[in-house]
Symmetry: D2
Subunit: 390 residues, 4 copies
């Protein structure tokens, strides 16, 4: 996209609602910035907190019409669906266990859903949700936001183009250190719900960050998982979910992979890395330095491809906003998913409208695959690392 090139103000901004994301939340604010960056959405309604007072205060702070600050997502879905100026899409940014009921409510009310990951906290919910999306005919955008980074798009395009040859190896890792100590015992909000299986699901690091690494590997390589062998640990005493996951993977067609997710590795902030190797070349990318993609054609010098720089192709250029050498970051990558959602929404508004081919975003199918991945990890680890199909 050129700067502001995707939106079409003549058609007006898309009205967006939000579930969750009230005061004290983290990811809701990220979604709002992401929605604003390319100016395609306006926040028009919210059920911002399960605590009614906080919901109202949050709505006020954000300048929402008080009439459209709701006490529950159910109420919001119902009311907005009947307003002439009702929201056309909703962003669901609650803890994991609430994704399912909220998404169900809005889809059934005929409202497109943009939902944070992981899709749901249980595999059963994930399967149900996939069916609900299918039945609803509505759009479902899962914010595996790392797929919005231009150089991730570049990598994917290069794999698709065949320059790497047949893919043999996919190495992904997402490593943090913020749970090295039992932070959840201090009452820290993020740590508390993320280590509570009732809210986060059965996977800890596996679900919270492992799913990102897994999704990224599939997104770029185009491969599908056949089976995995996992060895999960909770290194911190008393922790109820895994905080470290070692996983070996076998993809359909013969490629192999390793995946490491950890929240107890001091010196790592958000070290999400992907390395992919084929019989003709290799790629390396790291989320903390997202404007760089390292490409080695077999037998030639390693090349540094930069966002919007020499060597970058159309897939990356489409989702870049500024020239090479001026770094774009996490928020811009996230914004790209909102921009893609906007393009898709505008497209399907039209009779027989189809989403343009170059519009790319993770869907409910990716979300289901992620939840199945977590379930397989947990199952394999309980069976001492037996190979489990997702």
């Amino acid at each position: 996209m050129a700067i502001e090139g995707t939106h079409s103000k003549t058609a007006g901004r898309i009205r967006l609602g939000m579930v969750g994301g009230g005061q004290g939340a983290f990811i809701g604010g990220v979604h709002r910035i992401a929605a604003r960056i390319d100016d395609e959405f306006e926040l028009a309604a919210g059920a911002l907190s399960s605590d009614p007072e906080r919901a109202l205060a949050s709505a006020k702070e954000l300048g929402l019409d008080p009439d459209r600050s709701y006490a529950s997502f159910a109420e919001m879905a119902k009311a907005e669906a009947t307003r002439a100026d009702g929201i056309e899409a909703v962003a669901i940014v609650t803890p994991n266990h609430m994704h399912f009921p909220a998404a169900k409510a809005f889809l059934e009310a005929g409202i497109h859903v943009i939902c944070d990951k992981p899709l749901t906290s249980t595999l059963a919910d994930a399967r149900k949700l996939a069916a609900i999306v299918e039945k609803s005919g509505k759009l479902f955008v899962l914010t595996h936001n790392y797929t919005g980074y231009p150089m991730v798009r570049q990598a994917r395009e290069m794999v698709q183009s065949g320059v790497l040859g047949t893919i043999r190896l996919v190495h992904a890792e997402y490593v943090q250190d913020w749970l090295t100590e039992p932070l959840e015992k201090t009452g820290q909000k993020q740590a508390s719900w993320r280590t509570d299986p009732a809210k986060s699901g059965a996977g800890g690091a596996t679900g919270d960050i492992g799913t990102h690494a897994y999704n990224l590997g599939c997104f770029v390589s185009g491969l599908e998982l056949d089976s995995l062998s996992a060895d999960l640990d909770a290194f911190v005493d008393g922790r109820l979910v895994d905080d470290n996951a070692h996983i070996m993977m076998r993809y359909k067609g013969g490629a192999k992979g390793m995946l490491w997710a950890s929240q107890v590795a001091p010196g790592n902030e958000n070290r999400l890395c992907l390395r992919i190797f084929g019989d003709k070349g290799g790629l390396e990318w790291a989320q903390e330095d997202p404007n760089y993609l390292w490409y080695t054609p077999l037998g030639k010098p390693k090349q540094l491809i930069t966002r919007n720089g020499a060597g970058a192709g159309a897939a990356a250029g489409r989702v870049s906003r500024i020239p090479a050498g001026h770094p774009e970051g996490y928020l811009e990558g996230f914004a790209t998913l909102y921009a893609e959602a906007a393009r898709a929404i505008r497209a399907v508004r039209k009779k027989n409208g189809r989403i343009p081919k170059d519009v790319v975003f993770p869907t409910v199918a990716d979300g289901l695959a992620g939840v199945a991945f977590v379930a397989a990890c947990v199952k394999s680890s309980k069976k001492n690392g037996a190979w489990v199909k997702p």
Copy 2:
């Protein structure tokens, strides 16, 4: 700032106008994204192009009220000053030579100005403008956007805190390669006006990017230039302004510096770097990897301070939006200047309102210093590198 922590929607968004930034322009789009990121402004009026048709088409694309799309900045200043819902601030994003008349018009109409750099295309204009700002009592925010990067704020805070000891050396460079060949001869818009002294001023690389490097060195070190010796070149045949500048600097108090600005160094996209050394420690920062600041206390291992990570202080934290390890980029740094402008505007609205101490942005004085720097470079180079005071 925490996410969205600075704005106060109860008071509503600040109405913003824009001069320049129509279709085909680059920096205008950047300003608009920057203004949106923290949701403090709404674009309410524009004189988006000197070409009336393009102005109107651009306004329509941006969803502006057609009544508030003006054919000239003069008309806009006059009309908006008298509207009850007139703009409170204007962003000036034209080529350099138009900064002066536009800024003058809005300041004299009682409207705050956010202006792209360099301040003006001549030193005489810069001096006049400084006086006009003084007289107007209005805010003048110069978008030396690199000062908005959190780790630049961190560096400045560390110098101020004394951990580097007495500053001895300031090494700055801003190096690009996009003008290695005579791109202006192809009619490329950015290259054309930037190499035309009538539009850009007497300095080429010096004015376009050297001023950023110079400003950054002063911003972080707190030092003031005493004199400089410059050797400017136009390596490309027929180019009318410098495309490479070698500069030695002497700061008041005895510190020394070197500055290199170039647009003809293949392999450099936007390599803006700053290295500062005192008798107790050293700092290194590079714009292309802006979330990292390297700090070496004398005699101890080099440390990597990351945005919002361990070791980062209040000045950086205030202007960070997301956790360490999730990179913020150029647009967020730029947005910080808009957020600072918003805080300042809201503060001075109040009777006897004062700008909070922690709100930091480049002013007309910095702009004047930058234009004086360019003038001194040109003068020194003409005098075979004689030491010239700015």
Copy 3:
């Protein structure tokens, strides 16, 4: 060691023999340079090739006394053991399958052995050799040369000192790309014997480079392997040994690890990396940039410890030759093992002489552990990744 600080010419250089390493060989030349760097050895005899003509030509080229160029290691061991000026130590640098008989011959002749890794090509031989060493009372130095890098010593010292706390995670990888294509089919000498199980042993990448990564992890962490789960592949059609190995590890005491060895990952030359994490800090080291060790104390900024620089301790200083910022490389690390061997040899010459505590080198026990590691990998992989004890 300070420069040349370890040797004591008054006692003369140690007479060294060599088995293997004739014309066309690679590692023999490396051993000879390593032996020369600290000037502790003089090459006095050789059985440089199994091809007698090549042996003689090689000896001549190296300036060996023709009388001491032998047609076989057996002859050499016998002859040298009886000379008054016979060799005191021998370097064995043949393909893997010859390590055992050669080492046996020299040990039984009362000559110290410096032997390339892996120890042997079969686990049975490795066990026999360990017993032979024990019985001989002679020194056995296994050139796991990466343990000679100063920053590896530094890392080990830091783990031992407790600054990392309890070790939880050991991540090691050794990744290359030179066998991405079937190079062995071209007759290339290195590729041919390394992919021939009769010469290299059952492990391909596992034995050739995986053992280095495994040894390094144990050397630095001080941990002992409990069991492993491996998934080995030969991605190149017709290759008889693995060229890629994914391995999950469980150490005694509860730490976990992952190990990746590959020779088919384009863009990797000799990417041997080690990352170790405890509950108080983390370390990262990469062989291709060996003068740097990254250390993060939990909750503090990452630090860069450099060889002989600030923050480096005694263990690294002892084996550094030149000041920080002047890089030492692979040959110096290799030379450190020869210097350690020399110190040990001089020490045990004395009646009741003991090897000084700070002299550190891999022994036959490390070699046996390495061969057992390879055997366990092969066994686990054949059993579909079952956990196998070494």
Copy 4:
């Protein structure tokens, strides 16, 4: 060179003497390791210290024949010149002011000289020495050791091949921090003589390290200095020579350069960097990571050329010893100059023997240029940065 490929033991090792380099010295030990690495030399005589007792003790430690440990270089030159087994070359590794008389003595005695840099401590001596070398017909090898790094050779070859086009810019720096505080006042030996103009010459940082950066820029670019403008400082109170030098350069033919030499920049160990830009491409190299050369062909992605890796050419391959990914360091680069000296010495032994074209080493002419560079820096700085021809 392939490993040990240059030497020819059938002809025996070259007998080498050494002046300076006794106990407590630094660079003498480096020269001895460098001379050993490729096994072309044997140390046969020495005047290792101006202190006779230290000279003798040093000689004993190194295993020299006591008869060939001399009390003075004059005595040594005389005696060795008349011995049938006298030295063929001498390494001069004293403080700078002794280079001239020692070199003169050996050259006049018909002995080749390998001399540490800078050539002499005064320009007058340098000129005289150049004439003496000319008259003597002997070889003079100046150990600007950084020219021995393979990737420096690679860079030079690429410039010569024209892939960079016309060279426009040469940016060199050599930055350290070890003299940030007045270390010389503690009596530290290295600091003491290097800050004493009587021993080091008029230049401090300029002579000690600036000459390396200057030489490197000329070596790689092939350019010749026209004039320079320098601003030298002694930031440490009471220091008699410069500890920081800012220099602008003009090369013959129109290229420009900047050079920064400093010993007071905390966080820098031996940061010697070179960046060269032509109208078709750019190169970057840093001594602390010497196995990497970054090459950007204009308009294409930056490439990483590695020592002995893909993209490296003949000039680098000749002086590499081990495969890509196994780093060579400072000592190997230094050794390359000894290997080149050996090839040259063996060549000129033959009647009408000529030095092979691919043998490259810095000569007395380079040494004279370096001393002239220092003199010009001092002169320019005294004249307030006036442009001075060397």
